[in-house]
């Protein structure tokens, strides 16, 4: 006869158990979805670059040097210099900071606000739902870039304003998807049970329904991250986004990069490559995450 030896359910045991579980899941994710793991790795590298920009970058990204204008890539300036003699490599490193700040904030606020609105719509239904949905539909009938452009015209240039301008078009898109997920949860027995217990509406919505739409929420978050970075680059390229001299990838592609494209192509190539690499990594990571979290959402 075997003797089963159950460890006492102590607090320490539980935390280590959940930690190995968490690590195991990450390892399994890397093994099964190598492409996604590479995307995640690029993301981590980018985040570290953004955080440690002060230590990594060889030059001050804002320091103009008229003795070193439009220099080609060399040992001293790895990616060359721009029309003001600023080191492009340093500007790319600091640009990661701008891209991540804008991308993360806009994706986070867009997806989160949308999630709250979506859950409220699904939970209350009826008139509340109809009115909010109508309003979301109005926002949805603008192409994203057009709405962002109009918002930027109102707000003026600057990082905070770019974040707001990109967040607003994301909200109705997120609300739509979260609403449909929350609708199916609303009718589950445990929601009725919570109501029978006498819990208030906010508690049911945010403690019982909201945690259950985390999977689509995370998927949206990663999907929007890439999109937000692209929109930021587009706005900056149009001259209504982040303002000079802040290092931003889209801004680096504007003006002189086009004027001197033939004689100094490095000015146009490296910022564009950075945008592509970052968005590519996020998309591929987001795709794998989606497959991992919810195979049914593949059609989204």
């Amino acid at each position: 006869m075997e003797v089963y030896d159950y460890p006492p359910p102590g607090k320490e045991e539980q935390t280590t158990a959940s930690r190995t579980h968490w690590l195991q899941r990450v390892l399994r994710f890397c093994r099964q979805r190598p492409l996604g793991a590479v995307g995640g790795l690029v993301f981590i590298i980018m985040a570290l670059t953004a955080i440690l920009a002060d230590f990594i970058s060889p030059y001050d990204p804002l320091q103009t040097n008229y003795g070193a204008m439009l220099l080609p890539p060399s040992g001293q300036h790895w990616m060359g210099t721009d029309a003001f003699g600023r080191d492009i490599f340093s500007r790319i490193i600091y640009g990661a900071r701008t891209a991540l700040l804008v991308g993360f904030s806009a994706a986070f606020f867009g997806a989160t606000l949308g999630a709250f609105i979506g859950v409220i719509c699904a939970y209350f239904g009826g008139k509340t739902d109809v009115v909010i949905q109508r309003f979301m539909e109005i926002l949805l009938s603008f192409p994203m870039i057009v709405l962002a452009l109009a918002m930027m015209a109102v707000l003026g240039t600057g990082i905070m304003n770019v974040i707001v301008a990109i967040t607003i078009p994301l909200v109705p898109r997120s609300a739509q998807i979260i609403r449909s997920s929350a609708l199916s949860i609303r009718n589950l027995p445990y929601v009725d049970a919570a109501r029978a217990c006498g819990f208030g509406h906010p508690r049911i919505m945010f403690r019982h329904i909201l945690p259950n739409v985390v999977a689509p929420y995370l998927i949206l978050l990663t999907a929007y991250l890439g999109g937000a970075i692209l929109t930021e680059a587009s706005l900056s390229f149009l001259g209504v986004g982040v303002a000079e001299p802040t290092p931003a990838w889209g801004l680096m592609l504007k003006g002189a990069a086009v004027t001197f494209a033939e004689s100094a192509p490095w000015m146009a190539i490296f910022p564009g490559l950075s945008i592509s690499a970052a968005v590519f990594a996020f998309n591929i990571f987001g795709d794998s995450l989606r497959d991992e979290l919810d195979p049914k959402l593949r059609t989204q």
Binding site: F142, L238, A268, F280, T299
Partner: protein
């Protein structure tokens, strides 16, 4: 069905009215107005009287509700007014650029569909093989590459390799088809690639889903040929969601190619919008945004009808 259609059409009106209200007030909140922008070059020498005169001329001195009412009433009767900046009718300004925007949008769609549907289907059929990975990487790269950067690189490549640049002037396809082609093929390629990436992903996931359905297994069990199952049974259903992606994206392309038009120096609707916002040309901006929204809502509607028409399961629900 008729009742449903009428209801859908009627529901468009409040949405479009909302778009009108939103853009009207957004534009009024933007700091500076057209009178100030127009005289900005003259420095501080312009007297307030001149500015006031100009505002009176454009009707900007009237109360906001009055301006809004007058505008909406005119639009409802099909009169979009004149551009505050150029003084020419808004519809004329739009019509001379519409052709170019429509041509780019349609040809980019054509290219994207031609590329995306076979590749997306192939990726689904060869799921998790190197073919699938290659196609997926190609399509994710398409989504990740900003089309304006692709444009810059294309122009740069043409300049360095051939020492040639695409013509700057737009010539309609029936006047000089070759000049038209050499100018527009580059933006079409840049936009079409990104666009095809979206369709490709949709096609792949949709085909994958359909291939797992019972009736496909039945078809296999009956001993039908692979090709027949794929074309007659699977694709027919799998392409339904793809159609809605295509139609929505087409609507977006007509008014939303703001950045691409900037790179390729195309005088299209997107550029007109950026200019109009910069110049605080209220009538122009409002009309353009409203028309874009009309197009969007209409395409949405058409996609829904097409969906119901193609899929009896939707129709009878």
């Amino acid at each position: 069905m008729a009742q449903y259609l009428i209801k859908r059409v009627l529901l468009m009106i409040p949405t479009l009215l909302g778009v009108g209200v939103l853009i009207f007030f957004l534009m009024r909140v933007v700091p500076g107005d057209i009178a100030e922008i127009r005289h900005a070059g003259e420095g501080s020498r312009v007297s307030q009287e001149v500015l006031q005169q100009e505002r009176e001329l454009l009707g900007l001195d009237k109360p906001l509700w009055h301006q809004f009412g007058a505008w909406i009433w005119d639009v409802a009767r099909g009169d979009f007014g004149v551009s505050m900046w150029t003084g020419r009718p808004v519809l004329y300004e739009i019509s001379i650029r519409f052709q170019l925007s429509l041509q780019v949008a349609l040809m980019a769609t054509f290219l994207a569909v031609l590329l995306a549907i076979p590749l997306g289907t192939l990726a689904a059929l060869k799921q998790d093989t190197w073919v699938d990975y290659l196609i997926r990487v190609f399509s994710i790269a398409g989504l990740a590459t900003p089309s304006f950067w692709l444009g810059i690189i294309m122009i740069l490549g043409l300049l360095v390799v051939f020492g040639w640049l695409p013509p700057m002037e737009y010539s309609p396809p029936w006047e000089d088809p070759w000049a038209n082609f050499t100018q527009l093929i580059w933006p079409i390629l840049a936009v079409g690639y990104r666009y095809s990436a979206m369709i490709m992903r949709m096609t792949r996931s949709s085909v994958l889903e359909v291939l797992r359905e019972d009736y496909i297994r039945t078809a296999h069990a009956k001993g039908l040929k692979e090709k027949l199952i794929l074309i007659r049974h699977a694709l027919k259903n799998a392409l339904l969601p793809v159609i809605s992606v295509i139609s929505l994206e087409l609507a977006f392309l007509i008014g939303g190619l703001v950045v691409t038009e900037q790179v390729f120096n195309l005088n299209g609707l997107g550029r007109l919008l950026v200019q109009a916002i910069e110049q605080r040309d209220y009538t122009m901006t409002q009309s353009l945004v409203l028309l874009t929204a009309v197009f969007f809502v209409l395409m949405n509607f058409i996609a829904d009808i097409l969906f119901a028409w193609l899929d009896p399961r939707v129709r009878y629900k």
